[in-house]
Each structure stands twice: as C-alpha cells, then as structure tokens.
C-alpha cells in the first residue's frame, strides 16, 4: 500500500492557542482512517488544517508525494483532497443541483461533471428527487446526503468526512453509513471524524483517539474494543 496523505508532527491553532499539538498521521491508498475522541479536542481543527482553511504553525503535510501545507484551500482541492465539512455548509439559496454543480467547480472536475452527477444520483437517489429544491428546504438527512454528494462531485483521491452522522435519526445514520461502506468498497480513501465509536470501529482500518489536541491512542478497531478502560474514560462505556 502506498501512503496517500501524511501528517508529520503538525501543530495548529488560533493565535497563540494551539488546538492540535504534534500530530502525525498517515492514510494509505484505499484505507478508512477514523479520528475519534470527545468534542472540542481538535478533530475538526485537524481536518481544517489538512484542507488549508487553517495554516499549520509547525509540521509538514504531504499528499500523494507533494508537500501541501503551504497551499491555498483551492489548490488543495485541485490536488485531490475533498472535505465534507461538519454541519454540511450547503449553499442555502441554491438548488440541490446547483450545490452539486458547485462541487464540480475545480477545473479538472468540471470536465467530468455529467457522469459524476449520474454516479452521485445513483448512489444517493433522494438527491435526484430533490434536485430542483432549494438546499435550505431540505431535511437534516437530505442535507447530509447533499453535502456528501457535493463532495463526491469533485472526484478527489481522498474524502474527508467530518461527523457524517451528527444530529441525524438512527435510521438516517444507517443510510449514511451504507453510503460510506459502498464508497469504501469502491476503493476510495477516507478520513473520517466520528463520535459514535462502536459504529465507526466496525468499518475503520485504523483509529486515532484525539484528546486535548494530541493522539493518546492509535490502533486497529479490534484493539480498541479490547480496551474497555479507554472506552470508559473517553466515551462513557
């Protein structure tokens, strides 16, 4: 397996306040890597550093053999990193279709827009039904699907998902996870932040536990499930 995304001793934060400290991480081609840990401990910040919305204060980020930590967010998207943000961040006054088309905004994605749209509609048929509706009128689950669909429109070599199950009803979470499973089967590399440990442990190759801005534990799912004291400390059992 080749390393696709690599963080070496990355520290970042806002002003003098470091939110993540000395974090190293690799995602290999086709892997699903999960970041877990309590709220407010830097998981979202770490993702925003990778996609260039926040510049790291120290450390190196490599993607597909190239250094990317000094690039602008638009250059990082063009390089093939797609970030589906927490809270969806849809464009509220655009239709679902316009939102999806914005996903194919990068030059290299624009060429493949029609066939990507077919693929996204095949994977998320609900979006096809709702395509002429304004994004602000969608239900929570539909929004999440639109947000993931919009990310898939960019193509990309790695998909970053920030809490895809946040705030959804269990039945909708099940649908979203089915989509993630299918993406994984199709060989896509995924970096995911998730609060729901038992659910993500079922499908992740590697998990990293982020506490107070640092990785306190990393390993495979099976190893995590055999560490009841970790689960108890961080997730209340």
């Amino acid at each position: 397996m080749t390393v696709l995304l690599e963080l070496q001793s990355v520290s970042a934060g806002y002003g003098f306040h470091l939110v993540i400290r000395d974090v190293s991480l690799t995602v290999e081609n086709g892997q699903l890597v999960a970041l877990i840990g309590p709220n407010g401990h830097g998981k979202t910040t770490l993702l925003r550093v990778i996609s260039g919305l926040i510049k790291p204060q120290r450390g190196v980020i490599n993607f597909a053999g190239h250094r990317i930590d000094h690039l602008r967010p638009d250059e990082i998207v063009e390089a093939g990193i797609v970030h589906v943000p927490q809270g969806d961040l849809l464009f509220p006054d655009m239709t679902v279709l316009e939102n999806l088309r914005m996903g194919a905004y990068p030059r290299n994605a624009a060429k493949q827009e029609p066939q990507r749209l077919e693929e996204v509609f095949a994977l998320l048929p609900k979006l096809k039904e709702r395509r002429h509706q304004l994004a602000s009128t969608l239900s929570g689950g539909e929004r999440r699907m639109a947000s993931i669909g919009r990310g898939l429109m960019a193509g990309g070599r790695i998909l970053i998902l920030d809490e895809p199950s946040l705030g959804l009803a269990p039945i909708v979470i099940e649908q979203i996870y089915e989509v993630i499973r299918r993406l994984r089967q199709s060989g896509r590399s995924i970096l995911i932040v998730e609060e729901n440990v038992t659910r993500i442990a079922e499908i992740a190759d590697v998990l990293h536990l982020l506490d107070n801005g640092q990785f306190v534990w990393s390993g495979r799912s099976s190893e995590l499930l055999s560490r009841p004291e970790l689960l108890l400390t961080y997730f209340g059992g």
């Binding site: 638009d74 063009e78 943000p85 914005m102 996903g103 905004y105 990068p106």
Partner: protein, 293 residues
C-alpha cells in the same frame, strides 16, 4: 390626472433605475465580503469626472468616456481590495476596520477630484437632448436612455450571477465562505473581482446621476446614502431584492415629491427605513441573519 401619473411614474422609474445600479454595486460587495464600502460615493463622482475628462479634454466620443470611467473606477476598486481589504480580511474586526478605512479612502478620492477639477459644478457632457411625448407629458430622452442602460446593466449582472462559472463562485462565496473554499473557489480572486465590478457599476451610476444633476466632487454622498437605505430595506447583500427595492423607492420618491414637495422626499425614505428596521430588521427580502446573493 392621467398625465401627472405618467410623469410621476416616468421620473420614478428613472430614479429607481439609477438607484438600482448603484445599490447593486454596493450590495454585491457587502454580500460577498461583509464589507460596507464607504468610498462608494467618491467612486460615483470619480466615474462622472473621468467621463467628463475623456469627452471634453481629450475630445473622445461618449462611449469611450463611459468605458474609461468603468475601467478607471474598476481599477480603484481593485486597489481598495489589495491595499485595504485584503490586509484586514483575517482580522476578527474586519467589518469595522474596513468601514473606517473606506471612509478615509473616500475622503482622499473626493479631495483628489476637488484638487484636479475644482469645486465649481460642471455639466456632464454625456447627455441626450429631446423628449418623447406621451399624452401631454414630455419624457426627456435622457431619462429613457438611463432606463434602457440600467436594464441592460441589470440583465448583464443577472446573467453573470446566474449563468457563469464566476457568477456561481460569487454566489457560493456570499452564501458560505468556508464551503466555497472547500469547493475550490479561490476567494481572493472573487473578492478582487467583485470590488472591480462594483467600481464599474459606480462609474455607470455616477455618469447617470451627473447627467441629470451635474458634477460636483461631493456629488456621491447623497446617492450613496440612498443606496444604503435601499440595501437596508431590501436586506443587505440581496441583489435581486435590491433591484426591486430600488425601483419601488424611486417611484415612492417621485410620488412623495409630487404630493408633499421635494424637501420631504428624503424624509419619507428615512421614515420608511425606520419602519422596515422595526418591522423586519433583516430587510424586506432578507432572511434572518442570512446573507445572500
């Protein structure tokens, strides 16, 4: 009675069309950058004066004057972005800082104009003579021309925002800055482009206004204030609402001028703003706390 109505509607539509152009320039910038451009009034005057200079001192045709004004003001818009807005963007206090900075830029621009062209009022050479007669009412050709030019500009803006790649990127940036960046939109370019476009619109609007009321270095203050009023009534950052509100307020102003007298027309507008702010603080066409294009 019929004739009066035609007269009021004709002048109201002309006013509204002029206001629409200047308001769109202002609201585009607010919608995408959260920036109130207080130098906008000075840009209106600058556009009018560039047109004057190109037509009288250089003796070139009107269309060259108009294009030169658009290019010149667009360039000043770019300068405002690169010299003032961009260095402040990452600051937590961007909205206040840029508000004050652009007041300063506006004062400098107005004084440069004063220095170069002098304080005396000058007539705008880009005017059409003659009138079209509807019933017993003479509608000046100039007004018809302004109306037509405004509609063409609005059509171009609507096409830009609705049907082009750059327009989609502008709307995306206005609706969600972070998400737009994650879609690969280079927002620095969008900001620069929007400020340049806003400058060009200010130039057109300045030429239109000065063709009716003449050129003065501080001529932009009153139209800018009215454009702000219209922005607030429509909901800041809402382009289509701004056009509708501009036309409605133009008609209202013409009606108030006829019924109450010229001295009350601005007071009527301000009463309306106060009413809107109490009743719908986010504007007639705005949604709560949502900036949109």
């Amino acid at each position: 009675m019929m004739d009066v109505l035609v007269q009021v509607i004709a002048s109201g539509l002309t006013l509204g069309a002029m206001y629409a152009i200047s308001t769109v320039g202002l609201t585009l910038v607010y919608g995408s950058l959260n920036m109130l451009n207080m130098a906008y009034g000075a840009l209106l005057a600058l556009g009018g004066y560039i047109c004057l200079y190109v037509m009288t001192s250089l003796g070139l045709p009107a269309i060259v004057g108009a294009v030169a004004a658009m290019v010149g003001c667009g360039f000043v818009g770019l300068l405002i972005y690169h010299l003032a807005a961009r260095p402040m963007l990452s600051s937590g206090n961007f909205e206040t800082q840029i508000f004050i900075a652009t007041i300063g830029i506006g004062a400098v621009l107005e004084n440069v104009i004063l220095r170069v062209f002098g304080p005396q009022p000058v007539a705008q050479p880009l005017t059409l003579t003659g009138a079209i007669v509807i019933g017993k009412v003479h509608v000046p050709t100039q007004n018809i021309f302004i109306l037509a030019a405004a509609f063409v500009m609005m059509g171009m803006i609507a096409f830009l925002l609705g049907s082009t790649r750059a327009g989609r990127a502008i709307r995306a940036t206005a609706q969600n800055r972070d998400a737009a960046q994650l879609m690969g939109v280079r927002i620095g370019r969008i900001y620069a482009g929007v400020l340049a476009l806003s400058g060009a619109l200010a130039a057109i609007s300045g030429i239109m206004i000065s063709s009716l009321s003449g050129l003065l270095p501080n001529m932009g203050g009153d139209p800018m204030l009215k454009a702000f009023v219209i922005c607030v009534v429509a909901g800041l950052g809402n382009v289509y609402g701004a056009v509708t509100a501009a036309i409605l307020l133009g008609l209202l102003e013409a009606g108030a001028e006829y019924l109450l007298g010229v001295q009350y027309s601005f007071a009527v507008l301000l009463v309306l703003v106060i009413g809107v702010l109490i009743w719908r603080p986010y504007g007639l066409f705005g949604r709560k706390q949502v900036v949109r294009l």
